[in-house]
């Protein structure tokens, strides 16, 4: 379990990093290393060069404002999770991040790295999709914004071009009258979920006007299902779009069952959250 030989570069500027990446087709970006290093050690990946972005300046930020939370490429999961302001602007971040691995891994692993790694069993890619966020990427060719809906190409495959570095993710704020919830079932605490479900619900005067659900570990890419018109049986609507599969930890049937168990619970939690927030806002407005 030792990596095959690779060249190692730790650039001090983004320009240098982008140039190196563009010049070396076999190169890979190294962020927190929590996914990439195990792949290297098991020789499942053998890049010719690692471009370590940990020394790049100005990428460690977690910046909440009224529109949402901006997360730099070097912000660790732990850092995002610890930001009370970020949780205020978009509560789903902390709800989901507390299920991402364990504290030691969250101390190194980056949220942006997790998005680019594009694991359908990971929480944050699904969260980005559910919230309709985006990722900003840069290359020697310039900067572009990739909407979450266009980020995930397949299992462990994002749509980033080889020469692109993701520099920042944007998670939109939770609008007034909206609520979120998240639950997952894993074999052990901190493991990748057998099934995870998140809900984003918008309400008006207590009535649900829009309801969307995001799923972890029951598809090849993060899946979001709009159940606004299927509130009587949201799980059935979701299952029509999901592809639960067998693995050594659970059967497809059990995963489908968990979708049925968790979906109404999470949806109800989100509706409750939305109503609670509306009530708090009304109280504030009255005062």
């Amino acid at each position: 379990m030792k990596p095959a030989p690779f060249a190692f570069l730790r650039p001090a500027t983004l320009e240098e990093a982008l140039a190196a990446l563009a010049g070396e087709p076999g190169a890979k970006v190294l962020a927190g290393g929590q996914s990439l290093v195990p792949l290297l050690s098991m020789r499942l990946a053998a890049p010719s060069m690692l471009i370590d972005i940990n020394a790049l300046p100005d990428l460690g930020h977690v910046t909440p404002d009224a529109t949402g939370v901006r997360v730099g490429a070097l912000a660790r999961h732990a850092h995002v999770l610890a930001s009370a302001e970020a949780a205020e602007v978009q509560p789903l971040l902390a709800l989901a991040l507390s299920h991402v691995a364990h504290p030691t891994i969250r101390n190194r692993g980056t949220t942006v790295g997790s998005l680019v790694h594009a694991d359908a069993a990971a929480e944050m890619p699904m969260v980005l999709r559910l919230l309709e966020g985006s990722v900003d990427v840069e290359s020697v060719r310039g900067r572009r914004t990739v909407p979450a809906g266009e980020l995930f190409a397949g299992p462990l495959e994002s749509t980033l071009a080889h020469d692109e570095i993701a520099v920042e993710a944007f998670f939109p704020a939770l609008p007034a009258g909206a609520g979120v919830a998240f639950q997952e079932i894993a074999r052990r605490h901190g493991d990748y979920a057998l099934v995870g479900v998140a809900a984003l619900v918008e309400t008006d005067g207590g009535e649900v006007t829009r309801a969307r659900l995001g799923y972890v570990s029951v598809s090849d890419v993060p899946v979001v299902v709009d159940v606004t018109d299927a509130l009587d049986d949201p799980a059935a609507a979701a299952l029509a779009e999901l592809e639960p599969a067998d693995d050594i930890h659970a059967t497809a049937a059990y995963r489908a069952h968990l979708v049925k168990v968790l979906t109404p619970r999470v949806l109800a939690d989100a509706v409750h959250h939305a109503r609670q927030r509306s009530a708090q806002k009304d109280e504030k407005d009255m005062a």
């Binding site: 052990r188 901190g190 050594i248 049937a253 059990y254």
Partner: protein
């Protein structure tokens, strides 16, 4: 001694070192030596294949590669199969692998080539360049395939049967036929493994100046490794030293020896004249060390209206993997220890030990007992369910009673001796357990939880564990002139706290300060005769030997001190390293006694000067008397007639989620009887660790082989060892101390106990919660969900 240390919770002295990262494990050794080389192994990617060609030509020209070995490079004993350590007449078709595969591979992970390079990275690069041509053969995976024998693992082993063994006491089949009630059960246990934190590892250095080989290995038997290295490399035993440094856990897997690397590393070190290191990585540990536990059992039991077992007939099939280096120990233990605290009137057991194209099976903590306990306790629960009786009542009816010891089962145990229990008080243990877990109040709790929509269940399981198997262990106690006491015993230590527990014994027996005692284990230079650390034997065997050796040192100290102090031996006492005449000021330090014990008296130190005031010895005689030796030392061996039998009972309350089928532990209770406790804290630590490992075995861990013999979960990502979050936060423990009459300290082994009843106790509790039988372990939520569906269908149909 002012206070007795035996029996007190002395904090483990080794923890300071371990918790601060100051342990020295095999991989930490010789790291500063620039000449050190590193090894990596090419392992078979196929479960069953013939090797038609190996091409290493692309390897040696790789920068940094020093040497490569394949089978063709081995000569003499190294080119013969590895030893079959424990032969048995019933093992008619024993097979062992070669250090490097010859012509054929029989499991994914089997060693094929051995590369030595300047570092492990280069060595792995080289491994990746070796080209092997395979002719693939159909693999045999799992007990069903092995029994079907449509394909054979070894061409010359018909039916894939390595051994068939039968034992009977009475006439079980006749008793069952005549019994008022009978039941039949099919019970399965899957594969798991020890998975110690530290994998295997070996370092060897050949010293051309002294023509000596030093081998450091992460083993549970340094004397065993020494013997096989000498034999395989053709060296005189006196030329080989084997040292076991700190070991990061063993749990059984490191008692098997020699591993191919344990021979290849010394061979490479001698051949190349440079030290060589092999450190197994985690993937290798999964696919090339050992597993255990996979067995399928068929049980027939006959019993009366009280639930008294009149006849028990057990047939089982044991999956021993591709080879049998460790003989039949695991299934023999299942077949004998299955009986637990009970006395079936008639018992027959027959097993077949089967070859499969999977990793070899050797003992894993519990060693066949968890399966046996699962079989017996599931049977007890089935009888209780059938008769509508309380599960504890059926057990009580079948217990061996306290006045029936020593109890003869009429069977032969793993050590080849009659299976005879020495002592125990099972009714008292059960009473304690019921109290501890709240057995009689459980129905109220169940109702209370049901009212909240929650589902709970309770289970219990009892076991008896033969511990402290022979043949012997020895100890050497040496009092230095400083008064410090150096103790050597030959078995190894892998985290059990031997430094602490053994020093407690020495402090009490010899009358010295605990802090002055230093224990050395597993170093063949200090104690060349030893067996090893397995079968919960270290405290019983080495503990007793150390006690006996310390008594000898004490005897000698008293003899010399009596002469020096001009007093009678009977009037002397030794407290905190000082010998004094009781009730007077006259005294002499043990260190000074040590000076007096050696007629060569150059005054190096204060003790020597202090000694000048005393005079011992008869100037008319030889300085060292005929039957005496210089030095204040004691050496002795302990070799018991037979094993001593510890016992215990566990109970667990679980909650099963009616929706998600998740299983949560609400309460875990243990009553444990290992005779006199040397250090209750260490014993409880052993129980905690065992329970944690048992939770893993019952609810999380399994070896997921696919049909082609690939292990799908060969990493800690997919092999679900429980985290601290999955293990009960508290384990309620109560002790009973029924001393063993077989050793001077009245102790029994405690190392494996915690893990033995796990599968049984969790199955019982889940069954109790769910209301349908649990017959296969481990069990995951997904499987519990499947069972619910199956039983819902059944009840619908019925």
């Amino acid at each position: 001694m002012t206070t007795k240390l035996f029996g007190t919770k002395v904090p483990r002295v080794e923890d300071q070192r371990f918790l601060r990262g100051q342990g020295r494990y095999v991989d930490d050794l010789l790291t500063d030596d620039p000449r050190l080389l590193h090894a990596a192994v090419l392992r078979s990617p196929h479960a069953h294949a013939r090797i038609t060609d190996i091409d290493v030509s692309g390897v040696l020209d790789l920068d940094g590669v020093v040497a490569v070995w394949t089978f063709d490079d081995l000569t003499g004993p190294m080119a013969e199969p590895l030893p079959l350590l424990i032969p048995h007449p019933a093992l008619t078709h024993g097979r062992t692998q070669y250090a490097l595969a010859k012509d054929e591979v029989n499991y994914v992970g089997e060693a094929i080539a051995f590369v030595v390079a300047v570092d492990r990275y280069v060595a792995e690069d080289a491994v990746a360049r070796i080209r092997v041509d395979y002719e693939q053969l159909e693999p045999v995976v799992g007990i069903a395939a092995a029994r079907a024998a449509a394909r054979l693992v070894h061409d010359d082993v018909p039916g894939n049967v390595g051994a068939r063994m039968e034992q009977e006491n009475g006439d079980a089949r006749a008793a069952i036929a005549d019994a008022p009630h009978t039941l039949t059960l099919e019970l399965d246990v899957e594969r798991s493994a020890c998975t110690p934190m530290e994998g295997r590892g070996t370092v060897a250095r050949w010293d051309p100046d002294t023509s000596r080989l030093t081998v450091w290995s992460s083993t549970q038997t340094s004397t065993g490794v020494r013997g096989c290295v000498a034999a395989k490399l053709g060296l005189d035993l006196a030329k080989v030293d084997v040292i076991t440094p700190d070991v990061g856990g063993g749990f059984g897997v490191k008692i098997n020896h020699p591993w191919p690397e344990e021979l290849l590393v010394p061979l490479a070190a001698m051949t190349l004249g440079r030290p060589v290191k092999f450190t197994e990585d985690r993937r290798e540990h999964f696919i090339s060390s050992a597993h255990e536990r996979a067995q399928v059992h068929h049980v027939e039991v006959g019993f009366d209206d009280d639930g008294r077992v009149l006849g028990l007939n057990v047939e089982f099939w044991h999956d021993h993997g591709a080879y049998t280096p460790y003989g039949l120990i695991v299934p023999i233990i299942t077949s004998t220890q299955l009986l637990g605290p009970y006395k079936p009137q008639n018992y027959r057991v027959v097993f077949e030990s089967l070859y499969t194209n999977t990793v070899i099976v050797t003992p894993y903590r519990g060693a066949g007992r968890p399966q046996g306990c699962f079989v017996m306790e599931r049977t007890m629960d089935a009888i209780a369910a059938y008769l509508g009786k309380d599960r504890t009542e059926v057990r009580s009816t079948n217990f061996i009673q306290p006045d029936e010891f020593p109890y003869e089962h009429g069977l032969v145990f793993q050590d080849g001796r009659p299976l005879t229990y020495d002592s125990g008080d099972y009714p008292a243990s059960l009473a304690k357990l019921k109290e501890l877990v709240g057995w009689d109040e459980f129905e109220d709790f169940r109702a209370e939880m049901a009212a909240q929509g929650r589902r709970v269940g309770i289970g219990l399981a009892c076991y008896v564990e033969g511990t402290g198997v022979g043949p012997y262990e020895g100890a050497h106690v040496h009092v230095e002139t400083s008064g410090k006491v150096k103790v050597a015993t030959g078995l190894t230590t892998q985290g059990q706290g031997h430094q602490t527990a053994f020093a407690q014994i020495v402090a009490d027996t010899l009358g010295v300060r605990f802090e002055d005692v230093e224990i050395t284990t597993g170093d063949t230079r200090k104690m060349p005769y030893a067996v090893g650390t397995f079968a919960s034997r270290a405290a019983v065997m080495s503990g007793s030997a150390i006690h006996l050796a310390a008594l000898r040192a004490r005897e000698k100290a008293l003899r010399i001190a009596a002469e020096a102090l001009e007093a009678a031996e009977d009037d002397l006492e030794i407290v905190d390293g000082v010998v004094s005449v009781k009730g007077t000021d006259a005294s002499i330090d043990l260190g000074t006694v040590a000076v007096l014990s050696n007629p060569l008296r150059y005054a190096f130190d204060e003790a020597s000067k202090a000694a000048t005031q005393f005079s011992v010895g008869d100037p008319g005689k030889a300085p060292v008397a005929e039957d005496d030796e210089p030095g204040l030392e004691g050496k002795d061996f302990y070799s018991p007639e037979r094993s001593t039998f510890a016992n215990g009972m566990h109970a667990v309350i679980v909650e099963t989620d009616p929706d998600t089928a998740e299983i949560t532990i609400l309460k875990y209770a243990v009553v444990h009887d290992c005779g006199h406790l040397i250090n209750p804290m260490i014993v409880e630590g052993q129980i905690h660790g065992g329970v944690a490992q048992g939770v893993g075995g019952a609810l999380y861990e399994r070896m997921a082989y696919d049909e082609s013999g690939q292990l799908l979960n060969a990493s800690f990502m997919d092999f679900l060892m429980p985290y601290v979050t999955e293990v009960p936060t508290t384990i309620d423990i109560d002790h009973l101390e029924t001393p063993s009459p077989l050793n001077p300290l009245g102790i029994k082994g405690a190392g494996e106990a915690g893990v033995i009843p796990s599968a049984a106790v969790f199955a019982a509790a889940i069954e109790d919660a769910e209301g349908f039988p649990i017959t296969a372990m481990p069990i995951s939520p997904s499987e519990l969900f499947d069972l619910r569906l199956a039983h819902a269908d059944n009840s619908f149909a019925g």
